[in-house]
């Protein structure tokens, strides 16, 4: 396993592998997106209380999940980069930050659009919304620190520490619903036993969540390839890869 791990973590191998994987992942993302959106916007019935406006959850909930998931991936990759000095992990952490920030922004924006007809206001200072906003700030901090240093590797390592410190925020976000229990509704999907969401809505939601995961993978690999080209621009394998038009 370690052999495989080391081979995969070498930039040259990863670059070639990512180039081959991207078309497949992109196709899968497209198919899942189509299926999820069709299931969510056409097949799923309207909610008996909220009408059609609840359908925004098919974007909102997966984005909120992704905003947390990507932060954890970023912090883990940053930690791996710090401990074992693996260049690829630093690249993964650096490339995850902008994607995570955009998912966080989408979650906030769609939540606000949904809040206007449902709660009667664009924004409430509810615990969950606030922590999501803080998460966005944390992402901004990581991105800012990454772009501040002249040396990319030093900047990566510094922002990895910041990401790890910010991880303390993730459990606060997750448990804030139980802690402060305010306007935002509690979790409906992960409730043990019977989820309080109907299957016809749950299935498209999960498909959308999967589509977002694959979108992240695709976009991460694309960004990582560019970042590797930039960071390793005077190494031999890049010259060879460019010669072979990979």
């Amino acid at each position: 396993m370690w052999y495989w791990f080391h081979r995969f973590a070498s930039p040259a191998y990863f670059y070639r592998f990512a180039g081959k994987a991207i078309p497949w992942l992109a196709t899968l993302t497209g198919l899942l997106l189509l299926a999820g959106l069709y299931g969510g916007l056409v097949l799923a019935p309207a909610d008996y209380q909220q009408g059609d406006s609840y359908r925004i959850i098919f974007i909102h909930v997966p984005s909120a999940w992704m905003s947390l998931f990507i932060y954890v991936v970023m912090a883990t990759a940053g930690g791996i980069g710090l401990i074992w000095h693996i260049k690829l992990a630093e690249v993964i952490a650096a490339c995850s930050a902008p994607i995570g920030a955009s998912f966080t922004f989408i979650a906030l924006a769609t939540g606000s659009l949904w809040g206007k007809p449902m709660w009667g206001t664009w924004w409430v200072w509810d615990a969950r919304l606030t922590s999501e906003l803080i998460l966005l700030f944390l992402y901004f901090g990581v991105i800012a620190l990454q772009s501040a240093g002249e040396d990319k590797r030093t900047a990566s390592r510094a922002s990895a520490i910041l990401a790890l410190v910010g991880v303390i925020n993730i459990p606060i976000i997750h448990f804030s619903v139980e802690w402060w229990n305010t306007l935002h509704q509690g979790a409906t999907v992960s409730k043990m036993g019977a989820p309080s969401i109907h299957t016809s809505m749950l299935v498209p939601l999960l498909i959308m969540a999967l589509a977002c995961k694959f979108y992240y993978a695709t976009s991460l690999l694309m960004r990582a390839r560019v970042e590797l080209l930039e960071r390793e621009h005077n190494s031999n394998w890049i010259r060879e890869a460019l010669k072979n038009h990979e």
Binding site: L82, I134, F137, L138, F140, G141, A144, L145, A148, G149, T154, R157, A158, I161, L162, L164, V165, G166, I168, N169, I172
Partner: protein
């Protein structure tokens, strides 16, 4: 290193930093004056009405404390980084976490403790009920060390950058929010005559957590900044 090495190193760094602060008194006094002036701005900007000020008081005092801490944070490592003494400190056989802890303690004694002493006066300015004064002091006593500790991570990360100031506030302020929420909430609750032990326990927990983890993160960040 002998057995007494680590405590001695701690005390040496602490006294050195305190002495430096004593020699540069204006750097110490300015954040404190800033604290007072920011608080004074609010009655002028919002309203001099006692009822309004009373509800705003906990938040105003705590936000001002946050900003004034932010102002004084850079002093913790910046000048030592510029004259190279930080590098020498890190080269010493003493574990860097101990040095960081000593510097944080010095920073708190110079910038956190004065806030604590002057805060009751500002509470009177803002018509904070006398019953909430003790809670205000408790929250400041538990909260400002957390601000110094967490701030040390931010300064350690940005000390190698030429223009770290604005970046520092972007990095540190989101991490300050739990302290702000629980402290201001405790003071407001005390003003309403409600029990505040829960919030104080939480602040104590944050203090212990940051006391044990922040020096590690700050020491690692310093090593990266100096590299």
């Amino acid at each position: 290193m002998r057995t007494f090495g680590i405590p001695r190193a701690f005390i040496a760094v602490l006294t050195r930093d305190l002495l430096l602060a004593l020699r540069r008194r204006s750097e110490v006094v300015n954040p404190l004056l800033f604290f007072v002036i920011v608080v004074t701005l609010f009655p002028l900007a919002v309203s001099p009405s006692q009822a309004i000020l009373q509800t705003l008081a906990p938040g105003i005092i705590w936000v001002a404390a946050l900003l004034s801490t932010l102002l004084s944070l850079e002093r913790m490592f910046r000048s030592d980084f510029e004259d190279g003494s930080l590098e020498q400190l890190l080269l010493s056989p003493c574990p860097p976490t101990v040095l960081v802890l000593a510097k944080v303690l010095a920073h708190w004694l110079v910038s956190g403790l004065p806030l604590l002493l002057i805060a009751p006066l500002l509470g009177v300015f803002l018509a904070l009920p006398v019953t909430a004064m003790a809670t205000l002091l408790f929250t400041l006593a538990l909260g400002t060390p957390v601000l110094s500790l967490v701030g040390a991570i931010g300064v350690a990360l940005t000390v190698g950058l030429r223009r770290g100031g604005a970046l520092l506030s972007l990095l540190v302020l989101p991490l300050y929010l739990p302290v702000l929420i629980f402290s201001a909430n405790a003071v407001a609750a005390a003003a309403d005559g409600l029990p505040v032990t829960g919030q104080l326990y939480f602040l104590g927990g944050l203090l212990l957590l940051s006391c044990s983890l922040a020096p590690l993160a700050a020491a690692a960040a310093l090593k990266i900044s100096i590299h």
